[in-house]
Symmetry: C2
Subunit: 339 residues, 2 copies
Amino acid sequence: MPKRVTIAEVAELAGVHKATVSRALNETTEHQVNAATVKKVQRAAKQLGYIPNIMARGLRTSLSMTVGVIVPDLTNPLFPPIQRGIENYLAPRGYTALLANTDGRDSLERAAFNSLLERRVDGFILATGQVDHPLLKDAYERDIRIVLVNRGTTGVPYPLVTGDDANGIAAAVDHLIELGHRRILHVAGPRNFTTTLTRANAFTAACAEHGIEPRTVVASALNVDAGRHEMDAILASGEPVPTAIIASNDLLALGIMRSLRTHGLDCPADISIVGFNDMPFAQDFQPPLTTVRVPHLELGSEAARLLLASISAESQNPVTVTLPVSLIVRESTAPPRNP
Amino acid sequence: MPKRVTIAEVAELAGVHKATVSRALNETTEHQVNAATVKKVQRAAKQLGYIPNIMARGLRTSLSMTVGVIVPDLTNPLFPPIQRGIENYLAPRGYTALLANTDGRDSLERAAFNSLLERRVDGFILATGQVDHPLLKDAYERDIRIVLVNRGTTGVPYPLVTGDDANGIAAAVDHLIELGHRRILHVAGPRNFTTTLTRANAFTAACAEHGIEPRTVVASALNVDAGRHEMDAILASGEPVPTAIIASNDLLALGIMRSLRTHGLDCPADISIVGFNDMPFAQDFQPPLTTVRVPHLELGSEAARLLLASISAESQNPVTVTLPVSLIVRESTAPPRNP
DNA sequence: GTGAAAGCGCTAACAT
DNA sequence: ATGTTAGCGCTTTCAC
């Protein structure tokens, strides 16, 4: 990379001391210096193509103006909107996000966490929440500022921004009941995520309210393969096939749809399916997926807002922000053939 | 954030000078120091929970171990795999990526570029290439290291990593011809992207080879809305409807499929469609999309490889890496009803 | 093999 | 309103 212009060169050209340059170029201290001098300095800076060195500043202020964002897998369509939301909030405030993927592996998460710590991030946004998260207890004791997004944790009072999982599931159940379904199956996600746990519990509660039996199976992961595998197993089990399925997320729903196709079953004629998240292109699936829309962009920007607040606060303040969700009815749900 | 352990504290605990600590903890200088001392220092570092401050190191070495990645929109499913590929290559080498979105706006791109420059990134990977890119000429003159991915540019000899667009389109045309199609339309992307330009030219060439007329329309953007709008216009025009369409990317193809559904037309019975990219979930569309698969993960890791090579090289070396693509035949293509 | 000292580019306290 | 000085945490000569 090219040799860079420093504050000293600007100072020399402008004929002032470098401290004055620093003051003149900094929003918060600009008023401390004569307006004419400010002009002079700005002109000199522009002429030389001066670009402040944030690292040097950070070393001095012990603020990196940088936050670490840790997600399981950016390729999961859930996360890009969250990341965009985070960036939308951070960028205008001079902050930059450092993004790391963990592929759900604790070792990679630990590595990412340390790597970001080395870069002196001012805080973290974690989308990798799980029950009994291995890193969080230690981080909390070290007073590292973190905001959880989408998934929460247990035992540590970090702020959390999440969609209203319980209401989303309740809406899905209501919708299926209204269509006439009675044999509804919930394909839950792994029990170590608070989201999937909340959704599973909400399913049981909603079924109780409607007086139907809450049948639930637990998938081994929150991805397409797990969904297909689970549906294959259900169809092979010989047990009575449900007339409708609520999946814990869209990816599972997608896997279930693929399994159905493989077995010559039609959705929604044979089985109705409801997903969760309303991921991008859910409307383009075969058939277009009925699902619960979660405002992911807002999840991200809200998390970023909470994190910056936490960073500048004296002590940590455990808040939980729950954003409203809405059921999006498309073509994957219909009245049961034999109610 | 918590107060951090510095190299001085480690030095004190280990009973050595901080320069020795630095040497002991650094891979490349570790051999310069007595093995026993290394052990002692490492134990002290571990005990105190020492985490090196990369910013301070960067200030000293004028290397940030950081690269800027600029994409139009992370929400476009094309980019997450590229980003993952980049990260996969960088992380084991101690580098971190700083990601910025531009939404295709030059002003945002310029802002992102400057913000990353302030953070002293060692180089850039740009996925926002366009013909006559506004930033690149200036950047090249300043000897800023950049690698372009997916889309190229004109006039500036920066390295480029791209899929084999020409062969991909040729394969698509061959496939449609084999199915019996003769009235094939290409829905191209904006003319200011080298990818879409290459694809459009390849389409014309392939048609010439088969002796059929190359009909092409140019969409205003590379997204779903533009695709739908373009298809709506074609259907409204009253001109003869093609029996097959090759879209410049999957998003356009998706928009075309949505338009068809709106107009009561069936794909592939009425019109066959081929996309480009094989974006995630293309197989789950209605119908599953025949498309050209581009190895996006490899695009990313290859770009990262080239960038690190460029960073450590004395001078820039313009190379173009073209990765092979393959046609994935699914259900959106079939023989024409009335050949 | 290790210590001493300087300095990367910046900002903050103090002085004028 | 501006200059002086010191130092953030690290690496890198140069001594010894």
